[in-house]
């Protein structure tokens, strides 16, 4: 079929599709309420067809990319009676979702009578109900403690809002006004996508668009296979570890990737990964698929369109009941970061033997802190989430890693914001916030640096902190002879007491007035043999104070 579409029409349609998702993203950014959406941009847009094929997506959050087709398929499996003007929602990880905070809205798009596509908006909600504010609950042992579960449901039917459903959803989250605002923004962005797709059908006719889409997907497939074919064939193994699951019982949970590369084809088999956990470090099925797709997307060329075609060269095998694909009912909230990061790292490590020039060294893991307390200047309560002290990125064949940039699953997508604004709005003093020398792994190319943050509390009453994350033991991996980055090291310093090392899954840590946090975030992994690092690069590192122990280390 695709042979009959002329290349100009195909390019015009491709261009249109990517500008449609870009416009949807712009609308979302401008109209959403929550900081997590309008500042941290934790949302994604996509167009899928009725078979759940990913047609186009906007490059926002890589871990959403491969997940949305599964969500579209879940909607298709549950219902068939769609009408123009419908809006559907879901978030449940056991009904096509990734984890509960990621609520997804779907608008069906019709060409006349014929249903063609889904305009899809996924957005991380600032709260989704459940036992803890914001959804991350290290103590949850079942999904019910993590928040409100939404299977595929209709929010609008043929253009008519079901207020009763909306009221029920809004009642179950902590900040219903923001929730309603964000949901309105999501629906608005999806409808904008619908409107622009309808114009595309008007101009070319649905049948031509469909043929163009087939050709676009085929082209991405061809481009991807052409890249993959240049890699070395073979069966390769890689593994990565979670530090622990927070239960106190399990440590060093292994994610194992057996990757078979043959011709233009890559098969990733995660079946040998450790069994599932009783805590929130499990992955849902869709999230596991997305993590594998994310690793693959990082290794092919950045400019290949990320759509169904480019993922056709990738086959995923996994076993239910393992850490990467939990049984229904297990908690999973941490999964978009962990074990996503470890899945990516295991795959990249495996393929480093097949495409060493493409395999980047490890990016860091996520270690969050949220503090709740009273601001003595206003007497009001505050909740503050730490985005500062971004960790380092991995080095690659092309150069050193980025410093203060993020984790495998965010890769420079989270803005940490202004320290001045934070000091104005919260009782905090950022005494020191600079690159952390020596934190990046050594190598021909050095890993990006983490950050040293000394954060002094200016509270006058006891405040409480929660943590959620990984990476105090297992480090961003070095690649092809490069060294690992330094792990995260967070401590709470109180006058007259021993410094307290913070673990990654704690609740209710007491913080006394005048206490300070000594945050040392992790560095990225190094790439290639340190002996090959040039004297000039080492001299620059020393001159800039990025590495304290300078040229004497070369070749040692």
């Amino acid at each position: 079929m695709s042979a009959t579409i002329d290349p100009i029409t195909r390019s015009v349609v491709q261009h249109r599709l990517s500008s449609i998702v870009a416009e949807m993203g712009e609308a979302m950014l401008r109209t959403s309420y929550s900081q997590i959406l309008n500042s941290s941009r934790d949302f994604s847009l996509a167009i899928c067809d009725t078979k759940g094929r990913l047609i186009a997506q906007a490059d926002h959050i890589p871990v959403h990319v491969g997940a949305l087709p599964w969500a579209a398929r879940a909607i298709e499996e549950r219902f068939s009676n769609f009408k123009p003007g419908d809006v559907l929602l879901l978030n449940d990880p056991y009904h096509g979702g990734s984890h509960l905070p990621d609520l997804t809205a779907f608008v069906p798009v019709f060409d006349g009578e014929r249903r063609m596509y889904w305009a899809i908006v996924r957005a991380h909600q600032s709260d989704i109900g459940g036992a803890t504010h914001g959804g991350y609950n290290p103590t949850a042992s079942e999904i019910y403690q993590e928040g409100l579960r939404v299977p595929p449901i209709f929010l609008y039917e043929a253009g008519k809002l079901r207020d009763d459903i909306l009221d029920m959803l809004a009642l179950n989250v902590r900040n219903s006004r923001d929730f309603r605002g964000d949901l309105a923004a999501m629906v608005g962005a999806a409808r904008l996508g619908e409107r622009r797709l309808l114009r595309l059908f008007d101009e070319f006719g649905g049948a031509t668009v469909e043929r163009a889409v087939d050709a676009i997907l085929d082209a991405a497939e061809q481009q991807t296979r052409a890249v993959v074919s240049t890699w070395k064939d073979g069966v390769f193994h890689g593994e990565a570890f979670l530090d622990d699951d927070g239960s106190g019982g399990r440590e060093n949970i292994r994610i194992s990737a057996k990757v078979t590369k043959r011709g233009g084809e890559v098969e990733v088999d995660l079946s040998d990964s450790d069994p599932q956990s009783t805590r929130f470090v499990n992955s849902s099925h869709a999230n596991m698929q997305a993590a594998v797709a994310m690793a693959f997307a990082y290794l092919i060329d950045p400019d290949i369109p990320k759509n169904d075609g480019c993922l056709r060269a990738l086959k995923v095998i996994a076993k239910q009941g393992t850490i990467v694909w939990a049984d229904p009912g297990r908690p999973v909230t941490l999964c978009t970061s962990h074990p996503s990061n470890e899945i990516v790292e295991a795959i990249v490590k495996a393929l480093s033997a097949s495409c060493p020039e493409r395999a980047m060294a490890g990016w860091s893991r996520r270690f969050r802190i949220a503090i709740q307390g009273e601001d003595p200047r206003t007497g009001r309560n505050f909740i503050w989430h730490m985005f500062q002290a971004r960790p380092g990125g991995g080095a690659s064949s092309q150069g050193d890693g980025w410093s203060s940039i993020g984790e495998w699953h965010t890769v420079g997508g989270i803005k940490f914001g202004s320290l001045e604004v934070a000091e104005v709005r919260f009782p905090l003093h950022f005494r020191h916030h600079e690159f952390l020398a020596d934190s990046g792994g050594d190598g021909k190319h050095r890993g990006g640096l983490g950050v040293a943050l000394d954060l002094v509390m200016e509270t006058q009453t006891v405040a409480l902190a929660n943590t959620a994350g990984e990476g105090t033991r297992h480090r961003a991996t070095g690649m092809l002879g490069g060294s690992d980055g330094e792990p995260h090291r967070y401590r709470l310093i109180s006058e007259g007491r021993e410094p307290r090392v913070l673990r990654t899954k704690e609740v209710g840590i007491e913080i006394h007035p005048g206490d300070w946090f000594e945050i040392r975030s992790s560095g990225g992994g190094g790439w290639g043999d340190p002996a090959e690092r040039s004297q000039a690069a080492r001299a620059r590192d020393a001159e800039q104070g990025l590495v304290s122990d300078n040229t004497t280390k070369a070749g040692a």
Partner: protein
């Protein structure tokens, strides 16, 4: 008596002179990037020749010379600015390199990070700290200040950026440090953040101050030498520089706030568009300025161009307020090709001016957009640049044949495809730019200017469902022409810190009074004509992060309920922009802004040409491709007169621009002599 506008572009320096009767003369002269003043002086020579005067006589008779310069722009783009040292607060050395943790291309995990303008070894820290409320937590430490000065001296830096945390709130430490450096290192340029941009948000303030320190020395050097040449050549009047916000300022001020000149040239174009809106009586325009390598897109709404503080250039954040101009990397030089997956692309690679499109005959073999225009018969190869630079049609054909073979299409179909794709890119750029402001482009009129826009404007408009296009006679020199309509402008802003409280009327009133005194005082030192004051506030709801600029003009500053009035304005503005307001939510007042505006006397620029006495006569006919090859009439723009009407398909040629009309499009020549096109 003349007013003279001079705009230095990448390829050409454009000049415009308007006399007191409103007669307008244009000239173009090649730019001289190594020393722009050479091209400027040569251009003035050419302008004088066209006026039938000597250059000295013309300059002596000038009442004002307004200049748009790209010295700061080029210094940034080519990384040829001054060697800068950054002096900052102890413990916070890496703010400019952290970029708030952001990275652009999400799927490119292999490219290494960009080099910051100031490398880490020249980012020097002083022991000092101001708190969020302006109190001094750690006094400026003498010993470390002296060590830093020694380090600056040792580094050989020619320019210093002083950036301390919370200096927008209390600049005492920055001022003390600046005085010390001026005393110890008198030859070093000093920019301090509390002077350049006294606003909260350290990354934006620091980055802007660093850019300022980086470009100030070359800008000052250039402007000083240009002024000396102009004086020597006989100029008696003032010289003003167009700033990125569209107002103009004397040379010393432009050199002080050199980071505010990075959009000097395009800003002239926007001033020109605002004047067009006025002359046409059309308040809502989309300026479409398509050149060789890039296309500038902006928006005139209600007769005014929006200002924005969200700018960046060459990866450097510049948070000074400037006209909101989006530049997309596509233009006449964009290259068309087919990638490994068989997908057809136009751009972002550009043939530039060397080798340029295949038809330039400089050895370029790739198809550029200009080649498609030649193949399709839209551009007359022999008449390009008024015949001064004929194009090689055979080279365009040969390059197009190679592309057509890869696509499995005929030469004509391939050329039409290139033409279509570039139009689509332009339309996308405009759509995203307008959407970002919550504006639907369909109700706007497209204003087409810049060398290449006329070839594409009807198809770009059609793509956007825009129905009307205007092409002014000054289309190819609109920036230089627009500069002559600019006013003098001095802007100041300051952060208002409420730290959780509601806005207080008395505090806001005092803040504005202080800023007004400062702005008016500064403007008075350059100018003794009529002055107006414009006030605005940047505000947002508590949980939002994007502030919106709320104009406060017409508000009685003595109103006892001033704070409530300001909040009302904000809610209305928010509703205008984003369709809703939340009157029960906390409103945060972030920055106060004041502009002192000095209105200059303007010559007539709306002289109306004589109306037509006979129907328009084509100067020739030629074959051009509109789905099929058609023989179409070609008109000379300078032989058209008001009330002439042209039916598409047709081609209108001026010395430096060509306008293409398609089937059903109809152009009327309005009373200004401009083309007013309605789409079929």
């Amino acid at each position: 008596m003349y007013t003279i506008g001079v705009d230095v572009g990448g390829t050409y320096t454009d000049l415009v002179a308007i006399d007191e009767r409103g007669h307008t003369i244009f000239a173009k002269s090649p730019s001289t990037p190594a020393d722009q003043s050479i091209g400027v002086m040569a251009g003035l020579e050419e302008l004088a020749r066209r006026l039938g005067l000597s250059r000295a006589d013309m300059l002596a008779a000038a009442t004002r010379l307004v200049h748009g310069t790209t010295v700061a722009t080029n210094a940034l783009l080519e990384r040829k600015g001054a060697k800068v040292a950054l002096v900052t607060t102890e413990g916070h050395r890496d703010i400019i390199e952290m970029r708030e943790g952001l990275k652009d291309n999400r799927y490119d995990l292999r490219s290494p990070p960009p080099e910051p303008l100031v490398p880490r070894e020249r980012r020097l820290t002083v022991r000092e700290r101001i708190k969020a409320n302006g109190d001094v937590l750690i006094p400026l430490d003498e010993v470390s200040a002296n060590e830093v000065i020694a380090a600056i001296r040792a580094s050989g830096a020619q320019s210093v950026a002083i950036c301390f945390l919370h200096a927008y709130r209390n600049p005492a430490h920055e001022i003390a440090m600046a005085e010390r450096i001026a005393r110890e290192l008198p030859d070093v340029n000093v920019s301090r953040s509390s002077d350049v941009l006294p606003q909260i948000l350290e990354f934006e303030r620091f980055s802007t101050t660093v850019v300022n320190a980086y470009v100030a020395p070359p800008v000052r050097r250039y402007l000083t030498s240009l002024e000396a040449r102009l004086r020597e050549a006989g100029l008696k009047s003032s010289v003003f520089i167009i700033l990125s916000h569209g107002g103009m300022a004397p040379i010393e001020e432009a050199a002080r706030l050199a980071a505010g000149t990075v959009l000097s040239g395009p800003a002239g174009g926007i001033s020109g568009c605002q004047r067009c809106a006025e002359l046409l009586g059309i308040p809502d325009l989309v300026p479409f300025d398509m050149g060789g390598t890039s296309t500038d897109i902006s928006l005139i709404s209600d007769g005014r161009a929006a200002l924005s503080a969200a700018g960046a250039l060459a990866g450097q954040r510049i948070a000074l307020r400037s006209l909101d101009i989006t530049s997309i990397a596509a233009g006449g030089g964009s290259i068309a090709d087919v990638d490994a997956g068989g997908t057809f692309h136009v751009g972002p690679e550009s043939a530039g001016s060397v080798p340029g499109p295949a038809c330039y005959g400089n050895g370029g073999t790739d198809v550029a957009v200009t080649d498609a225009n030649v193949v399709l018969g839209y551009l007359d190869a022999d008449a390009f640049m008024g015949g001064q630079r004929p194009l090689d049609r055979a080279a365009s054909d040969a390059a197009m044949d190679r592309l057509a073979a890869k696509l499995g299409l005929s030469r004509d179909a391939a050329a039409a495809g290139v033409y279509r794709m570039i139009n689509l890119k332009m339309a996308d750029g405009i759509r995203l730019t307008t959407l970002r402001r919550g504006v639907d482009p369909r109700r706007f009129t497209l204003l087409s200017f810049g060398g290449a826009a006329g070839l594409h404007c009807v198809e770009v408009a059609r793509e956007l469902e825009i129905k009307r296009i205007v092409v002014p006679t000054a289309a190819s020199v609109l920036s230089a022409w627009g500069m002559l309509t600019s006013d003098l402008r001095y802007e100041v802003s300051r952060t208002y810190l409420d730290s959780g409280k509601r806005i207080q009327s008395s505090e806001v009133r005092a803040l504005f009074a202080e800023l007004e005194a400062q702005a008016a005082g500064r403007l008075r030192s350059w100018f003794d004509g009529p002055m107006t004051i414009q006030r605005s506030a940047e505000m947002r709801y508590g949980e939002q992060i994007f502030e919106i600029d709320v104009p406060l003009d017409g508000l009685d500053m003595d109103d006892p309920a001033l704070a409530a009035r300001i909040e009302e304005r904000f809610h209305c503005r928010h509703e205008d922009l984003y369709t809703y307001a939340s009157p029960d939510q906390e409103v945060v007042f972030v920055n106060a802004r004041v502009a002192a505006v000095g209105a200059v006397t303007r010559g007539n620029d709306d002289v109306k040409p004589a109306p037509a006495t006979a129907p328009p006569q084509p100067k020739s006919k030629r074959k051009a491709f509109f789905g099929a090859w058609r023989e179409v009439p070609v008109y000379a723009m300078d032989r058209l007169a008001p009330s002439h009407t042209l039916e598409g398909p047709a081609i209108v040629e001026a010395e430096t621009t060509t306008v293409v009309l398609n089937d059903g499009d109809r152009a009327r020549v309005n009373e200004l002599g401009w083309l007013d096109i309605r789409l079929g």
